[in-house]
Symmetry: D2
Subunit: 342 residues, 4 copies
């Protein structure tokens, strides 16, 4: 089968001819219909410090996808041929403390599709049966490929009390944009979206932000304080991973407020722990992945409710063989989510 892989420890991705995967007893084989590009894929493409530490070539990458089950392992009982499924990309070991206490997304021996095992930038991908999530009939298959990153946004945003809160969101990549839409429909008093890219800020506005701030032009901390009677935001979602933004996030939150950290910085960060965290009695919550499957039920409920306007989020559609173009587009920042069709 055709696939895109990191074949050598260097920048770029190469189209290869790979063997079609054969599902194990508790696995299903999925024929990929749509697969979308995540920031993580771009880290791997660029071969940055993080990628060098985590990827062992050769590896087929990609982990956001939806497709059809075309083969099932001998012990599979929960899915059948022909089922349309999306995938939870985190594979727990099933045996550690975290897995056995309902937190397999932070499994002590976590494997991630497209990072630790072969992924979805390919014609076929095999996954454990329990990682396959049936796509409800109300959800188009294209949207199904972004259930996984939408789940990140749900897990991050709903870790804080949104209804009635003034919310600030740093970083308007696809997960940040999803968080804008989510917090807006979840009753936020106001949603301030911050980025350095006007293209993305315009998307944020279309997805429901009540205010956008280009932090190259205005100080977002000053703006947020002005808009909240000097108090600061009750909830800050940090979705950028940028050091400057992370520091601003902590200065923007009010006393007793909540900072959700989701964006991954590439190195260590300097923080004023005394003034920005302790004296404020800030709550800080690191967020990764999705709660399996609590988050998925919530995502599905929100989609079925029809309240969530995700339409502006998918800005580009192209065939998988244009993956290189897609990566360059991600690098430019001039895109929302890019969906690739197989």
């Amino acid at each position: 089968m055709k696939a895109f892989a990191k074949v050598r420890p260097e920048p770029g991705l190469v189209q290869i001819e790979a063997e079609k995967p054969r599902p194990g007893n508790h696995e299903v084989l999925v024929k990929v219909k749509v697969t979308s590009v995540c920031g993580t894929d771009y880290h791997i493409y660029r071969w940055d410090e993080w990628a060098q530490a985590h990827i062992k070539p050769p590896r087929i990458i990609g982990h956001e996808f939806a497709g059809e089950i075309v083969e099932t392992g001998s012990d599979v009982t929960t899915h059948k041929l022909g089922d349309l499924v999306a995938a939870e990309s985190h594979i727990g070991c099933g045996r550690c403390y975290q897995c056995r206490t309902g937190n397999s997304h932070i499994c002590e021996r976590l494997a991630i599709i497209g990072v630790d095992v072969d992924g979805s930038f390919a014609e076929y991908v095999k996954i454990p049966e329990q990682n396959a999530w049936p796509i409800p009939s109300e959800v188009p298959v294209e949207t199904a490929s972004i259930l996984e990153p939408l789940g990140n946004a749900v897990h991050a945003a709903f870790a804080a009390d949104i209804a009635g809160s003034d919310v600030s969101i740093f970083g308007c990549g696809p997960v940040g944009l999803s968080a804008v839409a989510l917090t807006s429909v979840a009753g936020a008093l106001s949603v301030t979206a911050i980025d350095i890219n006007d293209y993305r800020l315009k998307l944020a506005q279309r997805m429901g932000a009540s205010k956008i701030v280009n932090s190259r032009e205005l100080d977002p901390v000053a703006e947020i304080h002005r808009d909240t009677e000097g108090r600061g935001a009750r909830v800050v979602l940090e979705m950028s991973g940028n050091e400057v933004a992370i520091r601003q996030a902590f200065r923007a939150v009010r006393n007793g407020g909540t900072v959700i950290l989701f964006g991954l910085p590439s190195g260590e960060i300097r923080l004023n722990v005394a003034d920005d965290l302790i004296f404020k009695e800030a709550h800080v919550q690191g967020i990764v992945g999705r709660e399996i499957f609590r988050t998925w039920y919530t995502v599905e409920s929100l989609l079925k409710s029809g309240k969530l306007n995700l339409q502006p989020l998918i800005t580009h559609r192209m065939p998988l063989n244009r993956l290189d173009d897609a990566m360059k587009l991600v690098g430019s920042g001039e895109c929302g989510k890019i969906v690739l069709s197989a």
Copy 2:
């Protein structure tokens, strides 16, 4: 001044000529502009069992109101003449365990305006300065009189996780109707409103209910299970106080779900504690009043956000001297909130 009072231990309210109240050192005198009718007022009017146990005539009743400060006690520092204010109706003692731990709304020696001290169905009412809440300029004075019952709905609804939940609301009086609007803007997957009165169910629909059920015609428990794949509602708000509805509320909630009890039954209730509460691991939360002043800040934020459509809620406006007509209307159930102008 003119006022309406329970003067004898019997049904009805009588218009009286009372002395204008004189504020104590830490009190303010409010000239009432608008005052609205609460279910509690109707209990007192009817002189039912609850009223007989709690009201010691003579007592001027009424506790939902907004008006202008026309006199301030000698030590008042937080408000000044001419301020427009609404009122928190619960007066804490300030000294008990509850008051000293941020829960004065469940003070061990609680006094309620219009129940334990004279109230707002009058030209003037005096209240402690800390019970006066400045009306923001964005909020019309008419709406300000219903901040207090809206606070009940906020306190009740936000005691549960609303975003992404299927919510069922039993009882569509003004607080139930407010809860319909609130849960709808706070990202509920669905909001099912249940009542026995079609007039009120129509109001519920206008305020955002995704489904209405007249429980005289359909079994709400069966409806809710059918709509939730047999699982039951994640959140049930009981706002009616009716025994049949309370029992249905417990049967309608899913395993691990939340039942918020706000509506006050007049007597004891039989419950199937084993099947409907223990085996389900239901969370049950009694709710009374408002968190002082956390709820008020949330109410104000929601109003300022412009997301909350309260317009259908106020169905009738009349002068205070038609209080008797207002009471009869409440008795008929053919009304939302009735606002009386002084």
Copy 3:
């Protein structure tokens, strides 16, 4: 093999000769070493209303046990022959909303060992591999049979904030007694144990209760209020299932306090919902089973810490073939936990 079963829909249990169970692919066969008697077993023995509604004879009963794995199904990977294990008695379906969100103990299609499938009052019992919990070397096998009911107590007690709280426990059966020990080591300000049986109250005292109340002689509600400056208990654990006690539990809790309901009443209960739950803003939490496996980790941690004095809890030891005597002893109330050896 020899086993004790309910063979006909009538009181009593009968010793039978049954076929040795054959484990399925994902099951293990356990040779029972010790098995203990639960209140549920006594309900079944007596054949009361609850038992008649839930048990379909013939059924081997018993669900608290520890033993050795002597056979493993073909796909079992997490346990091996010779392992000593205790058992989680709740078997989730693995597919429903509850199971997939970390709450399999309240599975929508829950099966319970010794109730819905054959149990441990037998030489052998088969269980799903994921229900087997390895007994740590620090824990004697006799104690291991009571990990399951101890888990009930942990799940119930730690659903409330114990440290610094005045705690009242209604009902001093084995789970109530375990809760006395647990809350005592978890920093409760005081632990008041209430029962109608002096034998059990003496056990409660030995397990750490700071006060015991025989509610046939003294009004526990009055005692609790006197001991808490009139405020009521911050946490009440209801472990009796008795209607009088449940009503007292709600009257004993303070405003804003927590009532944990674990004891199963046999029929409906009358409650003063307005005064005892709503006006108090009581939190009520139904508790059943154990969180799988969060509770088990906590139980194991507490046992390993050496802080928990369970020694007084096991009052009787006898061979399994004296089950009938054991049942009569349970009926008398003159016992703590009875452990039967195979």
Copy 4:
């Protein structure tokens, strides 16, 4: 009256002759009986960066104390002459969002006794009546002066789930030592105390630590992982303020665990936010002061329960006029709490 003050912007404290304070209408005048030394006092004595930024000389310092009310303002109603009281050192403005939502300890315009207003290293100190806490008869007046720092420990430790958890405490100053005692009586599975000072580690052991680690000799992160099957501590309390320790605290916590930050670093801290916080989904909670007065009730309850062994905590007693010796002793680290008598 005699007092010790920072009179000029330079190291040291000077004994001065000051005017006896005159209480305002809502204030009480306390004759200081005992006053103890806090780390903050030592910062001010040394005149470090933090002190230079926060103290405006002349200022009488000291904020941990107990004494007798000898004068009351004209409007004081909650205390009377002769009452023995301790003091909450945080004075809220009473009007801001934080104060009006039950969080006056993080008031937007907070004043601290001995920092922003004159303090207790003096014969007399005046405080708002609502900051005076009556000393219960069970508590000796000497102990009463350390209710305030003990409250820090309660507020910090009980912000996490202690019962059944493995707890690591970095920093064994008086608040860290108090946290050792508290977590130990609150049912921690284990309490590991970490410091670089053997004197303080020995105190930690006497106060209930199950293990002590001198981090100059052993790597505490490696020790904690070894003791927790490689998982890390469920709860980490950072009470040192030292950068090395703060970094270790984040590496020591398990996935999904809780880091409580209380110790104040003097400058910015570098953190590996991605690996130590986000991928772990760590909960981080900044802690300052005490919840007013929820924490005080808990402190008092714990003292009354008799479970808390604070006896080793007070290592030195001396007259107030030896304050300079006390400060030198704090600098050496060879002390627990030092109590000064007036």
